[in-house]
Amino acid sequence: MWSTLNINMKNLTVSREPFPDKYREMGGRGLIAQYMMDHVPPTCDPLGEENKLLICTTVFAGTNLTTAHRISIGGKSPLTGGIKESNAGGYAANLLAGQGIRMAVVEGLPDTDGLWLVHINAKGEVALEDATAYEGTNNYEFVDKMHEKYGKNIATISIGSAGERIHRIASIQISEFGEGYPSRAAARGGMGSVMGSKRLKAIVIEKPETRFEPEYADRETFKAVCTELNKVIATGAKADPFRNIGTIATIEATGLSGVLPVENFSGKLFPEYTEVGANKFLTNLASRGGRNKQICQPGCVVKCSNVYNDKEGNYLTSGFEYETIALFGPNCRISDLDVIARMDRICDDCGIDTIEVANAIAISMEMGKIPWGDGEAAIGLLQEIKDGTEFGQLLGNGCEVVGNALGCKRIPVVKHQGMAGYDPRNTKGTGITYATSPQGADHTAGLTLGRAMADTGRAAQGYASNKLQVAMAFADSMMCIFAFANCVPSMPLLADLMAGLYGGKPDITRVTGMGVKTLLTEKAYNKMAGMTEADDKIPEFFKTEASPATGSVFDVGDAELACILNF
């Protein structure tokens, strides 16, 4: 029987309880939506007593479905003011499932000063331990210390100094399978600050002596379908650029089409993008002993991750991804991949969302605080976050805060959250997703690139955004969206898996319904939190400034946006 791990930071207790039956067929984003609706008042202070930090894995927890062990971290976001589900890869979800834990709920605020961590040992015993020794320790050093103490067969869920300082763009870093680097980020929405507000430094999970096995309604059917689906995904992944190169491959598509953000979303082209593109990346990996085709969780057949070394061949960073490269790179006019890799490392280390802070740095460049393209100066700003300077504090609270402080008129946010590496004028469906997703400017909620007709046109973009938002909402409850993208031709098998695990009929509406329900629940929650249609808007400058690359403006009107999530 699955457990919920209840971590009460007011009482300073941690205990296991039976996982509620009402959530039995839920996981990931869907579970977070329903649990929030049931237990967390929408009007609560995100950094206050009533908010909860939810950590869970997918509906297929404990099974052999490839990438079933994504971790979803949710709560009310201090950045958006609405519901947030921030997910990541890494090893933690696999070990939580192995420990029989379907969900961890962190609630309350401590009455006393202190810092704590939760430790789950190999026997499954849970304890809340004093972590004041690690106060101010950033994630890489923290993980090293945990390896010294508990060995390498562990996973960590931790915050760095940014989370401890309650920066609204603080991430929660998850250690990856293998070396255990804390490089998988549950980055969006500032969940690291929620964890920091509760004075919880980390959850450290040891590999269990005996792995928990879920109950199957029909084990044989499940296993047969699972084997088939894993094969389908593996076959698709063979031709997937994410496997063969890494997510950096996306820049080869966006760099030519005006989708790649350049110079704070100026809409220009940046021919030097090839300096931070796939070929440069592969050359640097090959010549320095780096690696791609790495997994971040056991059993992954997509293998999109990487280890990136510096010029001397020493480890620099891992999980080096498109968003980070696009936004620290061309969007800041930086064309040095090594500089960007150093920035990635700093962000993972102090626990900060690279998308948010890169947008903040671009704004700082636009407003003349540092020059465009100056990588060392950009690193200097990140150092200010680490050092806790006055400007560092601003940066730690997101690009909108920085933009307002510097008087910038061009702040690329929706629901106060910074946009990802796709210019909404040149992929309008993605712009529609940015505007209408309950998660804020979140590309993973429904990236429509190449999925409708011309990306700079309106035709079918709203349709694509709606369909993808539903698909991503259920995919994020089940597996990694990169694996999902490769199983779309065999989607009915997901219904067979649900039936094999939970019983009942294999009905695809059970799967798609999960997506619709999650979206509607999130929308309702946000409405109760005080959000209105006014929050479903793309910043004005995208509507008035034509992208020089394509001539396109974001011309999807409010009336069209208002019906995107009608069902």
Binding site: D240, A249, E321, H443, L449, G450, N486
Partner: protein, 66 residues
Amino acid sequence: MIIIDGKSYPYQPDTTVLEAVSQLGIQSDNMVLVVIDGRVMPWNQLDQELIQDGVEIRLLHIVSGG
């Protein structure tokens, strides 16, 4: 011989990369990366590059994003 996605095809001199992939019905598409001997080549350069005998071309389809 040239190899495209694991299949062999006869080598024809004076053929551009674009011609070689077009014969398979592959259209110019930002969502498809053309990788030649391990290097990505943008679509706007494919008609400028002649294929060499023994070249290996892979077509990688972007299906997701993140």
